[in-house]
């Protein structure tokens, strides 16, 4: 029995592509080795990584709320010409990734194509290898009519880029893309809620408390980066609001429907979020998003 406890925190595996940036070669894994003796029940533990929902999942949950499509919410694809620094490009790559998913789940084909073009431009600017970038975008264009194919291709692209970034010590880029994608998903959600009363959407925003905790770990890891440093005070304010939101669950019961063979984890949750908390979250998300896209 080894008496080694390894906690490998991190692996940024979510969104698309990256950029050439010296500061990308920051340490990608935090490894702590504790030689203290463990009890027999304890085992070598490797936390493979933290996880955040991809834009695909976020926009899927928005779609499930039956909110109508709002074409004023996504960042305009024409803004792509405004971004030049590697940090801005990476952040807005995440933003456009979320916007693409948002448009695609609502079958907004023309908008989807515009976002593809924006992503293609950023891909070129970031010098993404052909097999990780443009090739995939070509496949998306060829399959634009097929929703499932699009999701599959986007997902493959994420995974391919994750691997690429990790192999090339560019985790900071991945972190920036994660931040951009998450913020854009939240921006769409809080704005949709501004125009309607939708408990499901409200719950969805509150439930991002889970993702947020992981996101803050990403922020903390890269706080020395100027782009992250500029956003950090806003994220810390957001953290304080989310800390006040409570989500509790009843005991889990796993039930399998004998007819449909669908297995469900049956448990209710109780979510507590006040109008003031929602307002604070909305304001902070709008501020952060404005800094990213402007």
């Amino acid at each position: 029995m080894k008496y080694i406890k390894i906690a490998v925190l991190f692996g940024l595996y979510f969104n698309l592509f990256g950029c050439i940036n010296k500061s990308d070669s920051t340490k990608k894994e935090v490894v702590t080795i504790d030689f203290d003796k463990e009890t027999d029940q304890e085992k070598t533990v490797k936390k493979i990584f933290f996880n955040l929902p991809s834009p695909i999942e976020i926009t899927q949950t928005i779609l499930a709320t039956k909110s109508p499509f709002n074409n004023e919410l996504p960042n305009s694809a024409t803004n792509v010409t405004n971004y030049s620094s590697s940090s801005d490009l990476a952040l807005n790559f995440g933003v456009y990734g979320a916007d693409l998913c948002y448009c695609r789940v609502y079958d907004q084909l023309q908008s989807s194509i515009s976002y593809l073009a924006a992503i293609r431009k950023i891909t070129v600017l970031l010098q993404i290898p052909e097999e990780e970038g443009s090739e995939t975008i070509n496949r998306i264009e060829e399959n634009i009519e097929n929703r499932d194919s699009i999701f599959q291709i986007i997902a493959e692209t994420y995974a391919g880029a994750d691997g690429y970034l990790k192999e090339n010590d560019r985790d900071l880029t991945a972190a920036l893309i994660i931040v951009g994608g998450w913020i854009e998903g939240m921006y769409i959600a809080v704005n949709l809620l501004n125009t309607q009363t939708n408990q499901s959407l409200l719950n969805n925003i509150a439930e991002q408390k889970y993702s947020y905790e992981n996101l803050m770990s990403v922020i903390a890891e890269y706080r020395d980066n100027p782009a992250i440093a500029e956003l950090t005070p806003y994220f810390e304010s957001l953290q304080k609001v989310y800390a006040q939101i409570t989500i509790t669950h009843d005991k889990s019961v796993v039930v399998t429907d004998q007819e449909t063979k669908v297995t469900t984890i049956e448990n209710e949750s109780q979510i507590s979020i006040t109008p003031q908390q929602l307002k604070e979250i909305t304001n902070l998300i709008v501020e952060i998003r404005s800094k990213i896209v402007s």
Binding site: K46, I265, S269
Partner: protein, 147 residues
């Protein structure tokens, strides 16, 4: 000076090994694991790592209410059958493949959005004196487009 050069070479060697390992894991995941998600849509999160015999890994994931999910825990053949369990935030085990013939996937939906921890245990070799084996383990999540 010689010591420094040795250290640099050692770090270079380790870095090279890591890169090769990650690259192989990526290929393994794409070719051997991703097809097991079908017909579920891959969520694009590449959760893979090289684990050794006796290792225990965990990954916390968020699952959204009323979505249909498939989790695939896919391990390189040399590691043997790995055990995976899903545990809720209260520590209650909601699934273990030990009760289902060591199957390498599970399909389910959740009534409410929640976080679940996926725990993966790689069995230890029972043969004494044998070198510890290592291999890639990937945890993939797919969902159905319910629209």
């Amino acid at each position: 000076m010689k010591t420094i050069r040795t250290l640099i070479l050692l770090f270079g060697f380790i870095a090279g090994i890591q890169t090769i390992g990650l690259s192989q894991c990526k290929t393994f995941t794409k070719n051997d694991c991703k097809p097991k998600l079908d017909p579920y849509i891959y969520n694009g999160q590449l959760n893979s790592a090289v684990l050794n015999e006796g290792d225990f890994a965990e990954l916390m994931l968020t699952f959204y209410s009323n979505q249909d999910y498939r989790i695939v825990v896919c391990a390189a053949d040399e590691l043997g059958k790995v055990v995976f369990r899903l545990v809720d935030t209260e520590g209650q085990v909601v699934f273990t493949n030990e009760d289902h013939g060591m199957i390498d996937y599970w399909d389910f939906r959740t009534k409410s959005t929640q976080q679940l921890v996926i725990e993966v245990s790689v069995p230890e070799s029972t043969k004494e004196g044998e070198l510890a084996k290592s291999g890639c383990v990937s945890i993939l999540v797919g969902f159905l487009d319910n629209q």
